[in-house]
């Protein structure tokens, strides 16, 4: 039985987040103390780089390398930015860390500031996280009171201050250049890299942008050392990862497991399996930029590379379990719909391309697709990936491409047979009343659009043209007289 391993969530639910003493009792600020007393900035960078810590916000970029680049820049001003603009649907690990252990982020950012030579940091938090903001604010105040932030921290020459910036809820502001522009007061839009923020970032100054979960690892690495960190997880992806387990699974919520844990272990050992005796169909990882991994790959040991090899990605750690009742095309459409909505609209492929891609998927799910549609979807997806400006657009077709790769027959079923086996795509199924109907009239009474006709004690009929497919008749019938059957395109 696999066990969870808490580094990031070490204090969440354990300490009173408003109590600095509680945090200190859990070795809090010892890493910062050690950094200032015993380590040079280069030592800190080397430790993080040696630990092999990679960005937990999605891309998996080596954190130490990012710090090294920023540390090498000659500039009077540098910035440390914490990306707490958590936007993936269903993901809430960053919120949990800030709400449950705000000092760990403050401590980590101060360590980062020392490492790269920055004296100012910003935490960019979604305004939709009021409790996180409140607790972080209180934590910052307390840290300042105790000399853990501000001038000459712990009596050293190092000074570091923190400020909170609110995000207005645009998903793209989780992309680092957009986030930077948002802090600067501009429209939250990405710009082309290079220049990378580590060279030219916030207000044109070298800036490191790290995600909350990434930062939460830092104090532990400094205290326990890179070798300890490397002993957890896999060769290429050391440490743990927090996942937000959701969807068709018995135990939902946040879990933290060593990298290298298999999907099976997560779903069946920690997650307790699929509810209602249903079978699993796939797992969606990586949020809107990720993909759907089918059951046959559930023995995959999760790390950045293995997920990528399966057309998905780590992302911020969203994990949504899909059972056999899920329509895979509808799932792809759901994620793409999210991206279309959240695209900033700056570049053509993301602004118009994703919209067109969504329209193609709608054709598939409403039965109007033809033999060219799949080809169009493939071709357009490739161009969007190839030409989009930022990570959002470059990864937006992933849910489509991965489902197309692993579930081609389901797309074909929709397109050729005009059938959705999961009975999710409304235009591709209909409710009909069979001969076992006793004419109790219950369905007719419950039908919200009054489209069921028939005499008392006679077999009823659903007028398909008026039916909105709400399923009420199916639900209320006590005689199993309402059937769900494929087809029905004619009444769309």
């Amino acid at each position: 039985m696999i066990e969870q391993y808490r580094i990031v969530l070490r204090n969440c639910g354990v300490i009173d987040p408003d109590s600095l003493d509680d945090y200190i009792k859990q070795y809090g600020y010892q890493a910062l103390g050690k950094t200032l007393a015993e380590m040079t900035p280069a030592d800190v960078v080397a430790e993080i780089e040696g630990a092999g810590l990679r960005g937990r916000g999605g891309g998996g970029f080596p954190t130490g390398f990012k710090w090294k680049i920023a540390a090498q820049q000659k500039s009077d001003t540098k910035f440390v930015v914490c990306n707490a603009d958590e936007g993936d649907p269903g993901a809430f690990m960053d919120r949990s860390v800030i709400e449950g252990d705000p000092h760990s982020i403050i401590e980590a950012m101060a360590i980062a500031g020392y490492a790269i030579g920055a004296s100012m940091g910003y935490v960019y938090v979604r305004a939709e996280y009021p409790l996180a903001i409140e607790r972080l604010n209180r934590a910052i105040d307390k840290a300042k009171e105790k000399g853990l932030l501000g001038d000459n921290i712990l009596g050293s020459d190092f000074s570091f201050d923190l400020e909170i910036k609110f995000g207005a809820g645009a998903f793209v502001c989780g992309e680092e250049t957009s986030l930077i522009h948002s802090i600067e007061g501009y429209r939250g839009e990405p710009t082309t890299k290079p220049p990378f923020p580590a060279v030219e970032g916030l207000f044109g100054k070298p800036t490191i942008v790290n995600n909350v979960e990434t930062f939460a690892n830092v104090p532990a690495i400094i205290l326990k050392g890179k070798d300890w960190f490397r002993s957890i997880g896999t060769e290429s992806s050391p440490g743990t990862k927090v996942f937000a387990l959701a969807g068709k699974i018995n135990n939902t919520g946040l879990i933290e497991v060593p990298m290298g844990t298999t999907i099976n272990q997560i779903i069946f050992e920690i997650g307790g399996g699929i509810p209602n005796g249903k079978k699993a169909k796939a797992i969606q990882t990586g949020g809107p930029s990720g993909g759907c991994i089918p059951v046959k790959y559930f023995d995959t040991a999760i790390d950045y590379e293995s997920l990528k090899a399966l057309e998905s990605m780590m992302g911020s750690g969203g994990m949504i379990v899909l059972d056999e009742d899920t329509c895979i095309v509808d799932t792809a459409k759901f994620y793409l719909d999210f991206t279309v909505d959240e695209s900033c609209g700056k570049c053509t492929p993301c602004r118009i391309g994703n919209k067109r891609l969504l329209e193609l998927l709608e054709k598939v799910t409403n039965g109007t697709a033809d033999e060219n549609t799949l080809n169009d979807i493939q071709s357009l997806s490739q161009v969007i990936k190839d030409t989009s400006l930022c990570g959002l657009g470059q990864t937006s077709p992933n849910p489509v491409l991965s489902t197309l790769k692993f579930f081609p027959e389901e797309y074909k079923e929709h397109i050729v047979d005009k059938k959705c086996s999961a009975f999710v795509c409304k235009e591709l199924y209909q409710y009909v009343i069979n001969d076992s109907c006793v004419g109790c009239t219950l369905c007719s009474k419950k039908c919200p659009v009054s489209c069921i006709e028939g005499e008392v004690k006679g077999v009823h009929i659903i007028v398909q043209d008026d039916c909105i497919k709400c399923g009420k008749c199916y639900e209320v019938c006590k005689f199993n007289s309402v059937d769900l059957v494929p087809g029905g395109l004619s009444n769309v």
Binding site: T192, D341, C347, P349, R351, I352, R356, L389
Partner: protein, 579 residues
């Protein structure tokens, strides 16, 4: 500067570090299409947002395609600009853009000059593979100058760069997101309800028909056909050195005589010159300037020829609205003189005189419609057409200007000096004013009439002029961003001048929002500028106060500069407009 070596399409090249792939390819004569990219070199303004993605190229070792306009060359880079993958991507991008673009090229105002249309033709986009929902935004034509059709916006953001980075007026910005993203004003206001100056620089850089001018060509055609009207034309200085471009002449070609001939072919009853009124402006403005210098009036005196600049001042520097010269702009002075002096002399009822201006400018349309720009209830100017619109009207009328025999302006309002023609270039008004002010102030003849220090298209220039022992400090700013910078210094008391000339468009009217499109080639502006100074240096009379017709005008009508009559017809006032 260190160098980097790379290969593009198999050809090795060494470029300075920081050079983009696009620039490097250009130096090898390798064509890469662009849409959002524009480099207004002479004005240090670049739009390289990398948003359209049409310029993508393949770079060895990179997962996705790179936007060549904003990807710097790196040592050892291997670039392919025309692989199947690249061409497929570009064609798809074009198809995507066209899928959300009105398919009305035949009736579009920009047809024939649209960069998107050109690319669609170049890439032979015969079908739009991905059709779907199209954007639908209301168009804005509730002003006299600029027509905005956001449905044709491709989010290239050039207008935004022109408005925000260059002019620093800040009216246009990306709004909304996703498929609904479009360049718009704050709160989706109409331009007329913003502090837009109508300088038209956004129109100049727009690659499509999203920003065009509001045209009165039809009204002009109807007036010309109306036998009860006497229709007269006035042409601004900068038009004559640019309109040739619309007839495939080399940039910098001086087309004065041919343009006059063309206007006569259009059946204008008289073809006059705004330059005449420019000389008149100098008479009034130089007089006002010397009066303020001698009698402790408000300084600096600011020029008031440029309506876009005046509007900026009225919105954003309200405490300064009383410092520009009260002299009307040459366009408006011309109209007043034509209708209230010339018409009377000719025995024509001013109500039957239709004054049509040909201007390099879109703000002139707005200016002519300002409430106070009329005398005795008659508007000074009836219709304003831009240089581009005159070219359109000529072509529509089957007149090939290039083939015409040169003709002279009609008199008396066609007579002008070298001082007047340089109004079209930044610094020209100031130089013209100095030529006259010097002689009036000192009572001596000015031997060297060229004031080189105030010439050129640099954003801000300043000079100290010696008026025979009295030093006059002058400055010139072109481009509203530069104007704001200069005015802020004056506001803070960091700098003090006697006289300042401001032109809204960088480089002056030669680069006005109504001029033939330069498609990012700012060297054209320099050629237009040279042409104006050539005209000036070849003029016999180069000082406004020596214009014999101007002398006659004062003798017969106005008496002297600043007279009661002059104030009634040739001067105006400015208002705080708020924001």
């Amino acid at each position: 500067m260190s160098k980097v070596k790379l290969t593009i399409n198999g050809v090795s090249i060494e470029v300075e570090k920081g050079t983009t792939i696009l620039e490097a390819a250009k130096s090898l004569d390798i064509g890469i299409p662009t849409l959002c990219y524009v480099d207004l070199k002479e004005f240090n303004v670049k739009n390289k947002v990398g948003s359209c993605r049409i310029c993508v190229v393949e770079v060895d070792g990179r997962n996705n395609l790179a936007p060549s306009c904003c990807t710097p060359c790196e040592e050892g880079m291997v670039v392919i600009t025309n692989s199947a993958r690249v061409l497929h991507a570009r064609r798809t991008i074009l198809q995507l853009l066209l899928s959300d673009h009105p398919k009305e090229c035949l009736t579009c105002k920009k047809s024939g000059e649209c960069e998107l249309q050109d690319l669609a033709a170049e890439y032979r986009v015969h079908e739009i593979r991905y059709e779907g929902e199209e954007s639908s935004y209301p168009a804005d034509r509730a002003n006299k100058s600029i027509y905005r059709d956001p449905n044709k916006c491709i989010m290239c953001r050039r207008c935004e760069t022109a408005c925000n980075d260059m002019q620093k007026v800040g009216i246009l910005s990306g709004t909304e997101r996703g498929f609904g993203a479009v360049v718009d004003t704050a709160a989706h206001s109409k331009l007329a309800d913003t502090y837009c100056t109508f300088c038209g620089q956004c129109v100049s850089v727009c690659p499509t028909g999203a920003l065009t001018s509001i045209t009165y060509n039809q009204e002009v055609i109807e007036a010309l056909a109306d036998p009860s009207k006497v229709v007269i034309a006035q042409t601004a200085p900068a038009v004559r050195v640019a309109i040739g471009e619309s007839f495939a002449e080399e940039p910098g070609t001086i087309s004065t005589g041919k343009m006059v001939a063309a206007l006569k072919k259009l059946n204008f009853d008289y073809v006059f010159d705004t330059d005449f009124a420019a000389d008149l402006t100098i008479m009034e403005e130089a007089n006002e300037m010397l009066d303020r210098i001698k009698n402790g009036g408000k300084l600096p005196i600011l020029t008031s020829c440029c309506p876009a600049w005046v509007k900026l001042l009225e919105h954003q520097f309200p405490e300064m609205v009383n410092i520009p010269s009260s002299a009307k702009s040459p366009q408006q002075m011309f109209g007043a003189v034509a209708k209230h002096y010339w018409a009377k002399k000719m025995g024509i009822d001013p109500h039957n005189v239709v004054v049509v201006s040909v201007m390099p400018c879109l703000a002139k349309k707005y200016e002519s419609a300002r409430e106070e720009m009329k005398s005795d209830g008659v508007p000074d100017v009836d219709y304003v057409m831009s240089t581009r619109e005159l070219a359109v009207l000529l072509k529509e009328s089957g007149i090939n200007m290039s083939n015409l025999k040169e003709q002279e302006y009609d008199n008396p309002l066609g007579e002008s000096t070298g001082a007047a023609v340089i109004f079209g270039a930044a610094g020209g008004v100031l130089e013209a004013a100095l030529r006259t002010a010097y002689e009036w102030f000192t009572g001596k003849e000015l031997a060297e009439v060229n004031f080189e220090a105030v010439r050129g298209i640099d954003g801000i220039k300043s000079a100290e002029i010696d008026l025979d022992g009295t030093t006059v400090k002058v400055a010139q700013a072109s481009g509203l961003g530069n104007a704001r910078e200069l005015l802020n210094k004056i506001r803070k008391g960091e700098e003090a001048y006697h006289a300042i000339e401001i032109m809204a468009c960088p480089g002056g009217c030669i680069n006005g929002g109504g001029q033939p499109f330069i498609h990012g080639d700012t060297s054209i502006i320099k050629k237009r500028q040279e042409a104006l100074y050539n005209i000036d240096s070849n003029e016999e009379i180069r000082k406004s106060h020596e214009n014999p017709m101007i002398k006659k005008l004062y003798k017969e009508w106005l008496d002297k500069p600043g007279s009661h009559e002059a104030h009634k017809y040739l001067h105006t006032e400015y208002f705080e407009r708020g924001i």
